[in-house]
Symmetry: C2
Subunit: 223 residues, 2 copies
């Protein structure tokens, strides 16, 4: 197949096993055994186990996030000085992840699972790595969402963006038929994308519920 040299085989195998069993649940011995390489090779090429994870994650995330930003810039450029398209921003955020599946076949499924898992992986270091890769990106997208949703308070937009991340994470990490046995075909990128965007755009645009037991006198809002 492809990638027959040692370093690449280690990356591919680690990617697959991290996706399947998590970081703590994957031993270097399992990786080297599956990859058919020597245990010492992983230390020679990458250093520590943590360094290996860093390499695996970077190889995936960096190009995906670059594509996200490119798509976002196109959406913003198309809007000019007007508020950018909410649906466009959502597509820019979601599509690059989904496309991995279609473009990379079986490995795409593995990778998306790995990505979804990375968000919620308990290991502190994995989380630190995730933050490292997503912090500025999140800021950029949150600002775009805020511009696209002028009628929603900014704090609420930021909070709802987290819900968007949650949905995407869960969809990616999902191993198949979870509740009720209804399986999802993620390889239908266009269909999944349109249905996700429809759901999320409606949620993002929803009227913000007013605080219920908070009676601020002097604010002339009549329900």
């Amino acid at each position: 197949m492809a990638g027959t040299d040692t370093k690449e085989r280690i990356l591919d195998t680690a990617e697959r096993l991290f996706a399947a069993h998590g970081f703590a649940g994957t031993s270097l011995r399992a990786v080297t055994k599956d990859a058919g390489v020597n245990l010492a090779a992983v230390h020679y090429h990458f250093g520590t186990k943590e360094d290996l994870l860093r390499a695996v994650l970077s190889r995936i995330v960096i190009p995906v996030n670059r594509e996200r930003l490119q798509m976002l810039e196109q959406v913003e450029a198309a809007a000019g000085s007007a508020p950018p398209s909410l649906e466009g921003i959502l597509e820019a955020f979601i599509a690059p992840d989904l496309r991995l599946i279609r473009d990379l076949g079986e490995r795409g499924v593995i990778i998306t699972r790995f990505l979804g898992r990375s968000y919620t992986e308990p290991a502190e270091m994995v989380q630190a790595l995730s933050r490292e890769h997503y912090e500025e990106l999140g800021q950029r997208f949150m600002e775009a969402f805020a511009r696209a949703l002028p009628e929603v308070p900014q704090a609420e937009v930021y909070w709802r963006f987290k819900l968007v991340v949650g949905v995407l994470t869960y969809i990616l990490a999902d191993t198949g038929p979870t509740m009720g046995g209804y399986a999802e075909d993620l390889s239908d990128v266009d269909g999944t994308l349109r249905r996700l965007v429809a759901f999320l755009a409606a949620g993002l645009r929803a009227p913000v519920p007013a605080p219920q037991w908070q009676d601020r006198a002097g604010e002339g809002r009549s329900p």
Copy 2:
């Protein structure tokens, strides 16, 4: 504090460490050391490490799911033969989780994090346990959602229900300020609940996008 006998201290400590580091990332030695009990005690009281996890998970999930079903039955009874309230179903699904935080204080935060992690924990056994607890519950709720959303195709309702689970999972598992440093106060149960319901209800009710490149002759839909 509370729970000074050995068995309970083990449960409390395991719950906290599983939530923080995951199942694979938590050793029994760490549990017994933190709990101030002997390593052999955990085997005496629970058996294997997997049995301990089962005990920790059951202690939390069983009463929460019971409350979910009770709330769902009330919502359905209130609706009579009419479609049940979508917002009511969402509250029945979400509120019991959120209430844990308010009612149990610091331990509530730990528990919800543990619950959120359980959904995406890589270990096959954890997933099997989760399925075991949520399979019938998911079926019941999916049917309720389908009745509340007669204008949405059933397959789409089922798929969107998974997105609801994803949002809840992510909110629960979230360790704090993730993207952009915007922290959420989950202890405000009523506020969080109303804002979650507003977002999710809008998403669930969103018009279903029609397949784009699918030209079914004989269907009189003019765009």
